[in-house]
Amino acid sequence: MSYLVGIDIGGTFTDCAIVDRSGHLLTTKVPSTPADFALGMLSALGAGAQALGMSLEDFCREIDFLSHGTTVGTNTIIQKRGAKVGLITTKGHEDVIHIMRGSRGYSGRDIRKVVHFPETSKPTPIVPKRLIRGVSERVDCFGAVVVTLNQAQAEAAIRELLAEGVQAIAICFLWSFRNSQHELQVKKLVEKIAPQVFVTCSVDIAPKWGEYERVTATALNAYLGPVMSGYLDRLNSSLKNLGYRHGLQITQCGGGTVPVERAGEAPLLTLDSGPVSGVTASLFLGAAMGEKNIITTDMGGTSFDVAIIYEGKPAYSFISNTDQYEYFLPKIDLQAIGAGGGSLVRVDAGTRTMTVGPDSAGAFPGPVCYGRGGKVPTVTDAQLVLGYLDAENFAGGRMQLDHAAAVREISLLGKALGMTAVECAAGICRIVELQMADVIRKVTVEKGFDPREFVLFAFGGAGPAHAAVFARELGVKKVIVPQRKAASTWCAFGAAVADVLHIFEHTEILSTPVDASRINANLVALETQAKTLMASEGIAANRQRFEFSLDVRHKGQINEVEVALPYTRLPANYEARLRRLFVQRYEQLYGRGSALHGATLEYVVCRLRARALTPRPRLIRAKNTTRKIPAAAIRKKRAIYWPDLKKHRATPVYDGDALASGNQIKGPAIVETADTSVVVHPGSTLKFDTLGNFELTFQ
């Protein structure tokens, strides 16, 4: 037997999804081990081996593809435990990373906080000024060397930084993406003087136009480098010792995976890759179901993440942010808002107003009903008050909830507003559900997609309770709660089914008309880079897949649009077709008539997504379907408050893990699994399909 294994380390649990060649899926969940995450990862594997009745060594020998998503990078940034980084840059431009383009790093922050200046500040610098050295060298916008590299200054800079005790050196010069020779020369110099030090160049991680976002990418990569490569080295050698024979793959934020060696050089790629794996899993399942347009939603305790898959391809963003810093990196676009089970509810009795989030109670103290000292009610408390959750059987019985406490605190809020506890709880859910509808609107309607053409995937513990409401609000016809077995380890499953993906970029701002040969030369260079790298990774040519694209804009404007190239090389008369594709995409995003016909265009970035196909599991479809609901699936009825009916009703409750394919349940009903609770509102129907998903439809 051979296995595909995906492992995802989260803050609390380490999940493992194991798929065999016949499509059987096995999942395990063990506590994460923050002191050394590798231990948790190995114990998740051990649990898998045990479930298969094998020794860990035998199991490791039979793994064909092992892919790993890790939160080590994210944790390093949150806890500020990264390396002491020295930065070498163009003399005169040492402050770029401190000036932060004259902003306070507001991306991704709540606007209420941004507009209140006394609550804002810049982040604690990842590289303090005293660890930044300017070196004389200069390239201009044409890529021409205007000032040659001052070798003596470069060497002095390296030696001074080493004397300061830096563990990593980041190198970023102005315009290096147009001409990288100075960066590479200094990198060589570092490797010669201090081979033990982690060194990274901006052209290796983010060869893009804009020094601030490029230098942050470089500095962040250096900041994560020593921690991450240490972790990965340990893990890799443990796995080798256990008998795993293939290359360990690490999930990356662009979707897909990179080999462990690349992740060691470019650990920035792993940041936020966990939630991205959920999108990868959705892509895979969507393909199996024949769904090409998917809104993926992931609602956990603190946040609600949304991504879009259109025509079978995920939407990308090219600038990300972490810890208030913005950096270049191609990434699957995840929009997040602070709306989760733990979102706090606040009431102002004076104005009779109620708000939900964006602050969260987190896991500690958590919602009131957790009984861990939380005093402020949360969305989870509201769900409990309404009866959506079972106090006795929460999280598969792993946890007992304090129903009375939740009712008490929510009653107090309700009183201040002149509402009963259930009315108040229903109101809390409604507010949070419409906030979610608004963020989905942002990534669909505002980006030119019509939500009515999409199905919505709802995963994460808190999502399926609300999905029906926000889906209906947006006109989405169908909600899928994916693969009930995989649901709780969805991101691990995503890791297991991911392809290897390398993204190569070349930035050169070219105004039309541009000769095809000029762009083709760039495409050839990208392809050569990809082929060389993939060959070194042992990926045979027949497994390699290349997709080229161009970022295009109107000259004089700032918005760039990525246009997928229908060619591997441009024919001489490419321009008319490319312009059509650009206008089509531009107007989809910005509205009909918004493109300036006949205007000069600028090509900014040539991009290559190079994939290596990996072994795929087959999903097994149930052969038999039945309408008859197994007796084992029927649980005791519960009194549940339905906002649409404005009253309580004794409602059927089902054990989702015991339902059979073909079962249909009309709302109102609750379907519980070990990890989540699907709320089937009056007027909706839940179907259990042959792939093991719950499918919610509305009348």
């Binding site: 163009t90 507001y106 107003t353 507010i431 419409l434 300036l596």
Partner: protein, 753 residues
């Protein structure tokens, strides 16, 4: 000398109709009966519907702004975020105003009100119409800020307004870009358009659009931006109408009114916690036209009487040259500070607060100028100089309340904009004109509990970003030698103001660049500190002709400062026209930094040490201004005691025994009917008098206020001073003042109740 100018409340028979004097809306708008207003608003809203619709309205406005940014794509809209969308009720009260360019708030409601009064009869305001407007006497900030006003109708009644304002690249006038530093009056500037119906029955009126575009040097760009504004309004209008269909018109209107009412309640609650009184601030504009060496005074008075605030500009110099703003510019500037200091928790929903704020302008002054004064530079001069004092007076008003005190903010950087306006043929062979956007990087002023934020942007645009050097170098024929934060630029204080930065460049890829300057605040700091804090750096132009920079580059020796180069130093005027920069000529421009809070001798020495290590403060300033001997606590304590003693000679005055009723400022306590030092209880006189008269006054040259300040005589004839007012008992700097030597003491704080 002409007769002194009078306030609006003292004038009779003068029409504030937007023709000669700026339009000041009457309390009761005169709207034609032809226009039916939707007035019904549901009173009792359930809290859930309220929150859901409120959130949706905020999102409508956000999507409106996002639509403009996406569609315009122009560097002004994207970097400086010089735009703002808003939603107003049928009678033009603010519901929501976006977090972009805050100046545009004060110019929005007035233009809608003017349109209601003057367009409801002829040509009429109907469903499917929109009005284009940019007349600063009706309500624009300056001619380039073009508004598009869109009435939203429901069943034949005017339900509400959605509007937006967007800065245009060029709408005519004698200088490309339409900032006209040498304009004699408005006839030298861009086209003036009182609200005109440009969209009728959902169609663009070609004839009107062509008039609008005809005066522009960049008609295609203006046309594109006009479509962005149009799309923004349509998006917002459609979404409001969807909300009405979903929740009912009366409910949506009820939510709008409640947002305003809640804002009003919150505002009144704050006012109730504050003493009544009068707060004043004074500052100066330099150089009103090429060759001018005078300064032009700006005075702001804030009076609080129970639950009303009144702002006045009386005492401000008469309108003159090319430095003016109209009434709406002055009011808009003050509203920025009002929003940020007092309405932030309402997402800047200022409508409710405005019900309790009066503006009493003095027409004919430089920030409430009559037609046809030159006003094209208003947002970078007259409005900024009107805004920043508003931070000071409002901060001093809220300081007495310990909770509101946390919202105090000192004046930020780029408090006057040192403009670098240049043009020529670029490295790609095309004609260009540009104003360097870098000063948008600003700096944020110190808070009452924390340091300001270095290069944290301009407070008047909470979200903005300056372009990367690589962006500027791609589009224009320049090569930046450096862009760096400047040591000692941040105003000294117990909490330091944020540092500003300097950009330095040479021509690259062009034989020469033609420049204009446009600046003020180069002689006299305009980011004054507060409550003993020192001012941030002045604006500074440095120009080195025929330098050795190219030889140094040849030898692979770049520099970190223009001073490391040799050449002929040239002092640029503040409105110098048409000078050339050749390839070896180096041009550095520093924008002003942020003011500090509290006496610098009270700053934690550990923080001063960290500042020195980080290059924020020089060793010199640490010793002279902060009184810190680095790494030596005992020596520091001794040195600081000496400095305090130096300020006052020997301690004098009597200590008051009464209890402190409240703190009027960081250093000024109210004990019964008397002022006293907040730290040592020394009597500072009767409360009805100016406490400064009881302080030890030290008049220092202006250069003592900040190490970056140079000889003011380079730019102006009058002599500015840095006046310190110290406690005679302990030498604490109670307050500082920046003033022209001949100007009297400023009575900055009066507490009446």
């Amino acid at each position: 000398m002409n007769a002194p100018l009078k306030k609006l409340t003292e004038l009779t028979g003068l029409a504030f109709d937007g023709v000669r004097s700026g339009y000041v809306p009457p309390k009761q708008l005169k709207i034609s009966p032809k226009l039916k207003l939707h007035r019904k608003a549901k009173q009792e809203l359930d809290p859930v519907t309220f929150e859901v619709v409120r959130h949706a309205l905020w999102n409508v406005n956000e999507e409106h702004g996002a639509t403009i940014q996406r569609l315009s794509g122009s560097p002004v809209a994207m970097y400086a975020l010089d735009l703002n969308p808003s939603i107003l009720t049928e009678d033009a009260e603010f519901v929501y105003f976006g977090p972009y360019m805050q100046y545009m708030s004060g110019v929005t409601d007035t233009q809608v009100k003017w349109t209601l009064e003057n367009r409801s009869d002829n040509p009429g305001i109907r469903d499917g119409d929109m009005f284009l407007a940019n007349d600063p006497w009706v309500g624009a900030a300056h001619q380039m800020d073009v508004m598009l006003l869109c009435p939203v109708f429901y069943k034949g009644e005017l339900f509400c307004w959605v509007t937006n304002c967007l800065h245009q690249y060029d709408i005519g006038g004698i200088t490309p870009g339409s900032f006209c530093p040498s304009a004699r009056d408005a006839f030298d500037e861009g086209i003036l358009i009182p609200p005109v119906k440009i969209i009728e029955n959902n169609e663009i009126r070609r004839d009107i659009e062509e008039i609008y575009l005809r005066s522009s040097r960049k008609p295609a760009a203006v046309a594109l931006d006009f479509r962005a504004q149009l799309a923004g309004n349509i998006t917002a209008r459609d979404r409001v109408q969807t909300l009405i269909k979903r929740y009912g018109a009366d409910t949506v209107k009820g939510v709008m009114k409640k947002i305003i009412d809640d804002g009003e309640k919150a505002f009144l609650k704050k006012l109730a916690r504050l003493p009544d009184g009068i707060w004043r601030d004074r500052t100066y504009v330099e150089c009103c036209r090429p060759g001018d060496r005078q300064v032009h005074r700006v005075l702001l008075t804030l009076r609080k009487e129970n639950n009303r605030l009144v702002f006045e500009n009386h005492g401000t110099a008469p309108q003159v040259g090319g430095i003016n703003a109209t009434y709406s510019g002055w009011r808009g500037a003050i509203m920025v500070a009002l929003n940020e200091l007092m309405c932030w928790e309402q997402y800047y929903a200022v409508g409710g607060a405005l019900r309790h704020v009066d503006f009493n302008p003095t027409p004919g002054t430089l920030n409430c100028a009559d037609f046809p004064a030159s006003v094209s530079t208003a947002p970078v001069q007259s409005m900024e100089i009107s805004l920043y004092p508003a931070y000071n007076v409002l901060s001093k008003m809220i300081y007495p309340d310990p909770e509101l005190r946390r919202d105090v903010m000192c004046i930020g950087g780029t408090s006057q904009w040192p403009a670098t306006i240049f043009r020529g043929i670029d490295q790609w062979g095309e004609r260009y004109g540009y104003i360097l956007v870098d000063p948008i990087g600003g700096a944020i002023g110190a808070f009452s509990h924390a340091d300001g934020i270095s290069t944290g942007g301009q407070a008047r645009t909470p979200i903005c970003k300056l372009p990367n050097v690589e962006h500027t170098e791609q589009s224009f024929p320049v090569l930046f030698l450096y862009r760096k934060e400047i040591t000692d630029s941040g105003g000294a204080g117990k909490f330091r103001g944020g540092l500003s930065a300097e950009s330095c460049f040479i021509p690259h890829g062009a034989d020469s660049i033609t420049h204009d300057t446009l600046s003020s605040g180069n002689a006299i700091p305009t980011s004054t500190g507060m409550m003993g804090g020192y001012p941030g750096a002045v604006n500074r132009y440095r120009f080195l002709r025929e330098s050795n920079v190219l030889e140094k580059m040849q030898r692979s020796e770049l520099v970190n400062d223009i001073d490391e180069l040799t050449g002929q130093t040239e002092t640029l005027g503040l409105r110098q026209q048409d000078f050339q920069q050749n390839p070896a000529d180096v041009y550095a421009v520093l924008w002003s930094a942020a003011g500090g809070f509290g006496d610098p001798l009270e700053r934690d020495p550990a923080k001063v040490l960290a500042d020195v290590e980080n290059g924020d403060v020089s060793t010199d300033a640490a010793k002279v201004i902060y009184g810190v001997i680095l790494g030596n606590p005992e020596a520091t304590a001794k040195h600081r005691a000496q400095l305090r003693l130096q300020r006052i000679g020997k301690p004098s005055g009597k200590k008051l025994g009464q209890k402190v009723q409240f703190l009027a400022t960081e250093n000024l306590a109210v004990r019964g009917a008397r002022w006293s030092c907040a730290k040592c209880a020394t009597d500072l006189g009767a409360r009805k008098e100016n406490y400064k008269a009881a302080c030890v006054r030290i008049d220092l040259p202006i250069q003592a206020s900040n190490p970056i300040v140079g000889d003011p005589h380079r730019y102006i004839d009058p002599k500015p001073q840095f006046r310190q007012f110290c406690c005679p008992g302990c030498g604490l700097a109670i307050e500082n003042e920046i003033a022209i030597a001949s100007d009297p003491l400023l009575k900055d704080v009066e507490i009446s109740r």
